[in-house]
Structures are given as structure tokens and as C-alpha cells.
């Protein structure tokens, strides 16, 4: 990827000096690596600041001082004189805080899973639902809505079907002949469209006054109505998935060189790919199950991060985690603050994501 106007590697002092003698065998610290670490630190600071500011933003007025006092009051052993009304406290802890936490978690999961899949499938145009996680979840949610389940039941059904779909894709692709990556992606696309047809069918038979709008809204994706208890449940698979991807991040580099090369370097490519797929799917499935279909984050954020910190997954994964979280939080703030009736976040991310995607594929031959 040649970036005009950014000769970071060429400008490094090591590049211009003649090769050092073998006596001076000292790896010089990479300029771009140091820069990337600074950027990651900056992203972390930005995420914390964005979360703090978001807590104070909302249509119902809560003063920054009140928000801070309410938060401080939660610390064990601290009891403050309430400067806030109980209504404000309810809104703050039951609506605003869960929503912000969910935005951070879902953004982190989708972006990181997307980055991991783009490496695993050696394809920069892949998103976390390439193996059918989203369409499976949508089908699960739709039939749960038809069955009259409440929000929690819908989420559980969506999660279950999401995992099931990906398992089905893996099973089919393990029996298929040919290039492993290609058949996996093909099986994912096919089974995805199968479940997508299933969703259309549930819409067809759904009660148009009640169930149909519910399914339609679910499909648009939204972070509203998240309860602290639901978030706590979803946090478990999300954390496991993120932890595994973080631990395996360096190995994703090797996987991008192809299975044969990885294997001659001592990496069991099939096993590693399976571990990455399972971890990324757990995170994606729980995100989709609790927030519906939020597209584009998983595709676009990894590319933005690659431009900032480079392609090395040791830095790309943490950057995607932090930037994905901040990105979805900011977009969700726009969703809940700008229009009088809230725009579903799935639509907003598409408004941001699709033009960016088009820009990416037209900018140069290789992304």
C-alpha cells in the first residue's frame, strides 16, 4: 500500500545510512512502531474522553458535575450529598450508562472481529459476518419475535442461531474440496443468503401490525433499550472472544502469508484459523444478538486503523478495539442526539460506511 505524502519508512534515519557492520548487531527501534504506540495510546485517551463526554450528553439535562457526583457515589465507601434528583439517577444508570457501555463493547467487538477476519481470509474486503453470523442472528431473532418472546429471549435466540450458522458453514466447508479459504467464504455467503431468505419468509408470515415492525426495527440495529443485566450476560462471550483475538494477534500476521508458508514456519494454520473464527464469531454473535445488525463498523474501522498504525496485527488489534469502541460511541451519540426521532444506528453506520468503502475500492488497485 503506497501512500503518497506519507514516506514514514523512507524518512527513517536507518534507511538512509549505509548497512551497519555486523559488529553493531542492534535492532534499531522502528520509527513507525513508536509512532503506532503513540497513536494507540492516543486512541485509548480519546475513548475514555469520548465516554466521559457522552455520559454528560443527552436530551434530558444532567450537569457534568451531577454526572461525576453520581459516578463517584457508586464507589464503595463514598457517600455524597445528592445534588441530583432520583429521576436523573434512574435515567443516568438505567438508560444512559448502559447504552454508552454497549456502544463501546459492540464497537470494540465488531471492529476487532472484522480485523481478525480480514487477516484470516487474506481479504481486506471481508467483514465479521462473512460466515453468516448476522443473517443467522437475524433469523433467530425473527422467529423468536414470531414466537412472542421478550427482548431477552430474542437476544438468546439470535445468539444461538448466529453461532449455529457459523458452525454449519464450518462443517460444510470442511467437507468441500478446493482452496480452504475460498470454500469457507463461499459457504458463508451461500448459507448467509439462505438465512436471509428465511428472514424474508418470517416477515411474510408475520403479523403486519405488531411482529413485522418489530422484526424490521430489529434488523436495522439499535443500542436503545439495553439493560444492565443483558449487557452483563453479553459481556462474557465478548470478553472471551476479545481476549483470545488479542492473545493470537501476532499469529494473524503469519496466517496472512498463506497456509503453506505458515505451516512451514511452525504454525498450524487450520487450527489457528479455527480458533480465530470461533473467537471472532463469539464476539460478533453476542454483539448482533444484543444490538441487531450494525454493519460497516467491522469493515471500515480496521481499514482506518491500518492507515494509522500499519498492518502489523500486534498493533492493529488493539487499535481496532479502541477505535471501534470510540467510533460506534460517536455514531450512537449522533443517532440519539441529532434528530428528534432517533435514527437507527445501523442506518447511520451505513451512511458513513458505504461512501468510505467506495472511496477505498476506487482509491487504488490494492487496498
Amino acid at each position: 500500500m503506497s501512500r503518497p505524502g506519507e514516506p514514514r519508512t523512507l524518512a527513517s534515519p536507518e534507511a538512509s545510512t549505509p548497512p551497519p557492520s555486523s559488529a553493531a548487531a542492534r535492532p534499531a527501534p522502528s520509527v513507525s512502531a513508536r509512532r503506532a504506540h503513540l497513536i494507540i495510546a492516543g486512541l485509548a485517551v480519546f475513548m475514555v474522553l469520548a465516554a466521559g463526554v457522552s455520559l454528560m450528553l443527552g436530551r434530558y439535562p444532567i450537569e457534568p458535575a451531577q454526572a461525576l457526583a453520581m459516578l463517584a457515589n457508586q464507589i464503595p465507601g463514598v457517600t455524597l450529598e445528592p445534588t441530583w434528583t432520583s429521576q436523573q439517577a434512574t435515567l443516568f444508570f438505567n438508560v444512559r450508562l448502559p447504552r454508552i457501555m454497549l456502544a463501546l463493547m459492540v464497537g470494540c467487538c465488531l471492529a476487532t472481529a472484522g480485523a481478525a477476519f480480514q487477516g484470516t481470509f487474506q481479504n481486506p474486503l471481508v467483514s465479521p459476518d462473512i460466515l453468516g453470523a448476522s443473517q443467522g442472528a437475524a433469523f433467530g431473532a425473527a422467529i423468536a419475535i414470531l414466537a412472542g418472546q421478550a427482548a431477552f429471549g430474542v437476544s438468546v435466540s439470535a445468539f444461538g442461531f448466529s453461532i449455529l450458522t457459523v458452525m454449519l458453514v464450518l462443517l460444510v466447508s470442511s467437507r468441500a474440496k478446493g482452496n480452504r479459504i475460498l470454500v469457507t467464504v463461499l459457504a458463508g455467503t451461500m448459507i448467509s443468503s439462505l438465512f436471509s431468505a428465511g428472514v424474508s419468509f418470517t416477515k411474510l408470515v408475520a403479523d403486519p401490525t405488531d411482529d413485522l415492525p418489530a422484526i424490521t426495527y430489529w434488523l436495522m440495529g439499535s443500542l436503545t433499550g439495553a439493560k444492565m443485566s443483558d449487557i452483563a450476560v453479553a459481556a462474557i462471550p465478548m470478553t472471551v472472544g476479545m481476549a483470545v483475538l488479542f492473545a493470537l494477534r501476532w499469529r494473524i500476521n503469519i496466517l496472512t502469508m498463506g497456509d503453506d508458508e505458515a505451516s512451514t514456519m511452525g504454525i498450524d494454520a487450520r487450527r489457528l484459523r479455527l480458533a480465530i473464527i470461533l473467537a471472532a464469531t463469539m464476539a460478533t454473535a453476542s454483539s448482533v444478538a444484543i444490538s441487531g445488525m450494525i454493519g460497516w463498523v467491522g469493515l471500515v474501522v480496521p481499514h482506518l486503523c491500518r492507515m494509522m498504525v500499519g498492518s502489523d496485527y500486534r498493533r492493529l488489534i488493539p487499535a481496532s478495539m479502541l477505535f471501534g469502541a470510540s467510533f460506534l460511541l460517536v455514531v450512537d451519540n449522533i443517532a440519539r442526539l441529532t434528530a428528534t426521532s432517533e435514527i437507527p444506528i445501523g442506518i447511520l453506520t451505513a451512511f458513513v460506511g458505504a461512501p468510505f468503502f467506495l472511496y477505498l475500492i476506487t482509491r487504488k488497485k490494492k487496498v
Binding site: 503506497s2 519508512t9 481486506p124 503453506d260 514456519m265 511452525g266 500499519g310
Partner: protein, 260 residues
């Protein structure tokens, strides 16, 4: 013995690709593998590397039966240098070299300063330490091939397999890559490389292995193996083999062009 192959046979389905191959390659030997396209050179390499597992016969590398080793253990015995190709993403040269240092790491670990030093030392050994922080996709094809050689060195296996390392390189880069390989073999590594240039074998090999129709046609000192008869029959063109510089070098020349 670096590589010891005993009665190796391999088939893709019904099609027999390798038949009863027997070869012994001593330590510290540079071996050139010759043979027309599609005679089974790559298949032989894939079997040795453990990428084709369903072969018959026994392949021992450094005395160890490759069939009994795990992926990780195999990587400690033998490394592979593919033809340079563009990876999907941009990595720094040092990061590319670093990829091969993971064979001794736990599944969840990333390389540390020790591995970085190993990678850097490998780059120095092939003389391209100054490229360490350049972007791999932005350096020349010859430099990329040298990076892949450094990557194989950093893996610290005693045996290296190279698949047509110079087929996409210009003359200067070809010479640079081959003399680097020659030097590494002198330093004690065993290197097996395939090539389409029979001439190269005289300067850049200790032994020449000729594969034809899935079997070993000839194996030994290049001076004995690369003869007018063999090269003419192998590639289906009449050539003459001539000696230069007091027989330090020999060249193969198509007869048709010098006949008049």
C-alpha cells in the same frame, strides 16, 4: 544426513506423481534440482516439508522421521523459502522476518526482544539489515527474495528448501540471491533449490538432482550429471555443454544456434 528419502511415492488420486524416489543429502550441501515443469519437483518439496502428508516411504530430515513430527517440530528441522509474492497487507521487512521465529513460542505468545534480535541478525547475515524498517511490498523483487531467505535463517532450521528462488528475478538479483545461498551452504546449512537453468548448477551447487517423470534420473556432482545427453533428453532440445575458465564453469548452449 540432512535429508534422507527412502522409496518415496506420491499420487494425486489416480495420478502417480512420484515413484520410488531415493535420495540422500549430506549436511552442508547445496543441491540443485533440475527437471522440466510438472515432473514432480514441487510435489517432492511439499512431501519433504510435510505439506503433502499422504506419501508412501520414509522422509528423514536431520535423522528425524518427518511423519512423526508436529507442525512445530518440523519447522525446527526444515524451513521453506517460497517464490517472493506480494502479501495482502503491508508489513515492515523486520516483521516479515519475525514471522518465522514463532516456532518456539506458546500459542498465545508474541515474539519479544530476543526474537527481534534473531530476526535482525538474520537480515545482517544476508546483508540487508539496512532494509529492516522498509515496507516489504516497496522493495525490489531481489530484495524481497533476500528477506525471505533471512526469514528462513531466523527460523534456525538446519535445512532449507527453496522453490525456484530466482525465476522472477533479473540477472543482477539472480546472482546476488544465488551467491547468498552459496555462502549459506558453505556456512553449514543444507539447501535444496529447484531451478530451470542447468548452467547455474555448475557455479551454485554441490550436487545436482535430476527429476524426470516422477523418478530420480540422475544425482551427483553437477559435472557428472549435467551432460549433453542428459540435458538434451530432459528438455527436448539439443544442447552442447562447454567448459570455461579452466573448467571452473560450464555452459549449456543450444546446438541449433551455434551449428553454422
Amino acid at each position: 544426513m540432512s535429508i534422507e528419502i527412502t522409496s518415496l511415492s506420491f499420487s494425486y488420486g489416480q495420478r502417480e506423481v512420484l515413484r520410488d524416489v531415493n535420495v540422500s543429502i549430506p549436511d552442508g550441501t547445496l543441491v540443485n534440482v533440475l527437471g522440466p515443469n510438472g515432473v514432480g519437483k514441487s510435489t517432492l518439496f511439499r512431501c519433504i516439508l510435510g505439506l503433502n502428508a499422504r506419501y508412501e516411504g520414509v522422509i528423514r530430515v536431520n535423522g528425524k522421521d518427518m511423519r512423526t513430527l508436529s507442525v512445530k517440530q518440523r519447522a525446527r528441522e526444515i524451513s521453506y523459502i517460497p517464490q517472493s509474492h506480494a502479501p495482502v497487507y503491508d508489513y515492515e521487512v523486520l516483521d516479515v522476518v519475525l514471522m518465522s521465529t514463532g516456532a518456539d513460542l506458546g500459542m498465545m505468545r508474541s515474539p519479544g526482544p530476543r526474537h527481534v534480535e534473531r530476526a535482525y541478525a538474520a537480515l545482517e547475515r544476508v546483508g540487508i539489515a539496512h532494509l529492516a524498517h522498509r515496507t516489504y511490498t516497496q522493495i525490489s523483487g531481489g530484495e524481497q527474495q533476500l528477506v525471505l531467505i533471512a526469514r528462513a535463517i531466523a527460523q534456525e532450521a538446519r535445512t532449507i528448501i527453496m522453490d525456484e528462488p530466482t525465476s522472477a528475478l533479473d540477472y543482477g538479483n539472480t546472482v546476488r540471491v544465488l551467491s547468498c545461498v552459496r555462502q549459506l551452504a558453505r556456512e553449514g546449512l543444507s539447501i535444496v533449490q529447484s531451478t530451470h537453468q542447468p548452467d547455474q548448477a555448475f557455479l551454485y551447487s554441490d550436487k545436482t538432482l535430476v527429476i524426470d517423470a516422477g523418478t530420480v534420473r540422475a544425482y551427483g556432482d553437477p559435472r557428472d550429471v549435467i551432460t549433453r545427453e542428459l540435458v538434451s533428453a530432459l528438455y527436448g532440445v539439443d544442447v552442447e555443454v562447454n567448459s570455461l575458465y579452466g573448467d571452473k564453469v560450464r555452459v549449456c548452449v543450444p546446438v541449433k544456434e551455434i551449428a553454422r
